[in-house]
């Protein structure tokens, strides 16, 4: 059963087509990785799937809800960890989650226990009362995952979840993502440009290039598809995405991305 599907989904910015007639489906319980170079259309796609950006044309449905026509239904069923920071440094970890528990309609009686449970699950129980600006980058990402899954969404979308993290923090984030799927059956949709991340986490990987899916399958199948079972996922990536320099992103995105990476690092 699919939880996410798109049909000829397209987004244009002026003359630039960031996502180009993209058709994709992700089944319940999958850990799906979207790989692509900078500017390939990953973030634009995620923004459309999370209702932040209206598609120019085509359809996207999440848990049966159309992102353009039924955004409210989509928002209740997704968790989203953006590439940029999404927790407030001037509040404590507990407060960040408490506010979102209210925004996600978690009933008053169960709010505190849900927040405590979510904090404990990502190993932040002892740091709940500290201001988030005192957290390390890895702790912030774990808090963001807790915040995004407070309402127990069936689908969690993570946009470059480990960018800017050191290897230890990155591994901790991976463990939490795996546990979400194992414990709650959460479908995971993540974008990354780290091959190692895609290889160790994802049961299925798609490569996006210039707004189109150019390859889709398990890491092993993708390796076979380029005629070299010994190939790395990096080779597969180079094969499909080529080694052309991408120009996407722009000044604002680059500046924001770097600021987020600095804060997390």
């Amino acid at each position: 059963m699919t939880i996410l599907e798109t049909e000829a989904l397209t987004r244009r910015f002026g003359r630039l087509t960031a996502v180009d007639a993209l058709t994709l489906s992700v089944g319940r319980g999958e850990v799906f990785g979207l790989l692509g170079p900078n500017g390939a259309g990953k973030t634009t796609l995620v923004k459309m799937l999370t209702t932040l950006l209206p598609p120019t044309s085509g359809v996207a449905r999440v848990a049966g809800y159309d992102v353009a026509r039924q955004p409210g239904g989509v928002r209740r069923r997704i968790g989203y960890v953006p590439q940029l920071l999404s927790v407030d440094g001037s509040l404590t970890g507990y407060e960040n989650l408490l506010i979102f528990a209210k925004l996600y309609d978690i009933p008053r009686g169960g709010r505190e226990s849900r927040v405590r449970e979510a904090l404990a699950l990502v190993g932040l129980g002892d740091d709940a009362g500290r201001l988030v600006r005192q957290y390390s980058g890895g702790m912030i990402r774990r808090l963001e995952i807790a915040q995004s899954t407070l309402h127990r969404p069936p689908l969690l979308l993570l946009d470059e979840p480990t960018v800017g993290l050191d290897p230890v923090a990155r591994k901790a984030v991976w463990e939490h993502i795996v546990r979400l799927r194992e414990d709650f059956g959460t479908t995971i949709f993540l974008t990354t440009h780290y091959m190692e991340e895609a290889e160790s986490l994802c049961g299925r990987v798609a490569i996006i290039h210039r707004g189109k899916i150019v390859a889709d399958g398990s890491p092993a199948r993708l390796k076979t598809s380029i005629g070299n079972p010994q190939a790395t996922l990096g080779d597969v990536f180079m094969h499909y995405a080529g080694d052309t320099l991408e120009s996407g992103g722009g000044y604002r995105e680059t500046s924001r991305g770097r600021r987020a990476a600095r804060r997390l690092g």
Partner: protein
């Protein structure tokens, strides 16, 4: 994983049980809870660091003590029998609420740049609740100014009205005025989209809004064209209500009903426009 189980049972398309009984009343309750949650977020930030409130207190104190002190000695401005210091105290409170609110848009753009806005917009929170919650938090910030201005005015011998109903009216007018200008600021931020442009426009708006109002001199003293502007400036209605309610001998020129009706109506229209524009700030 309640939401997932419900979705699976219903083929992933029906509303889950947690939201199934969401009628109009529950919807209104949810809207209220979420609006307050956004305001609570700002109040909690202030609780962790209230230095902002203290630094903001300096300016109104200077206006009252220096500007008010000097001009009341000069007795240049006809104020209908009120001592000049009494006359401008409500004006300075209105001004403080305006100054607290008019740069609210910078915070909106800062949150956008950090990425926090995305999280709000992805949550199932009505856009109008997000905007109204921000507006309410500006109201809370402005109320702290009211406390300081009351204390300074009392020390300077301003004849204040301590009637609880009048005090409640003052709080409402200050909160409404701050909410109104904070929402106006949010709209400007959503239109100009960069902090640099916003700062320029904010500076450009503040002084005309302040001087083209009845805050520090009566409207009757103004030339005809400025009178027209001051009559469409919501700050004039806020100050008019404050003047009637804060001072023992204060009277309203427009009538309190008109004052509150104008403030409420303009705030409602601005919140509606802000709710439309706010999701576009990230584009």
């Amino acid at each position: 994983m309640r939401l997932q189980e419900e979705d699976a049972r219903r083929g992933g398309s029906a509303e889950p049980a947690a939201f199934a009984g969401a009628g109009v009343l529950a919807g209104a309750g949810g809207f209220f809870v979420k609006t307050l949650a956004i305001a609570e977020l700002e109040v909690r930030k202030l609780r962790h660091d209230f230095s902002e409130l203290l630094t903001r207190a300096v300016q109104p104190i200077l206006w009252l003590v220096l500007f008010g002190g000097v001009l009341s000695r000069a007795q240049l401005i006809p104020t209908g029998g009120l001592p000049y210091l009494d006359f401008i105290t409500p004006g300075i409170l209105g001004q403080s609420a305006l100054f607290v609110s008019i740069f609210y848009g910078v915070g909106i753009l800062w949150e956008r740049d950090l990425g926090i806005t995305n999280k709000f917009l992805v949550s199932p929170t009505p856009r109008s609740a997000l905007v109204l919650g921000k507006a309410l938090s500006a109201g809370v910030r402005a109320l702290s100014q009211a406390v300081i201005i009351y204390a300074v005015a009392l020390a300077l011998g301003v004849r204040l009205d301590w009637n609880p109903a009048a005090l409640a009216g003052v709080l409402l007018a200050v909160a409404l005025g701050a909410a109104l200008f904070a929402t106006f600021s949010l709209i400007v931020a959503c239109l100009v989209k960069t902090r640099e442009r916003f700062m320029g426009i904010g500076q450009l708006l503040t002084m005309p809004l302040f001087f083209a109002s009845n805050a520090i001199y009566p409207i009757d003293l103004m030339p005809g064209w400025l009178r027209v502007i001051s009559r469409i400036n919501p700050l004039s209605y806020e100050v008019d209500a404050l003047r009637a309610l804060m001072l023992r001998d204060g009277v309203s020129a427009f009538g309190l009903t008109t004052d509150y009706a104008v403030l409420l109506a303009v705030t409602a229209v601005l919140v509606a426009v802000g709710a439309y524009l706010y999701p576009r700030v990230i584009l």
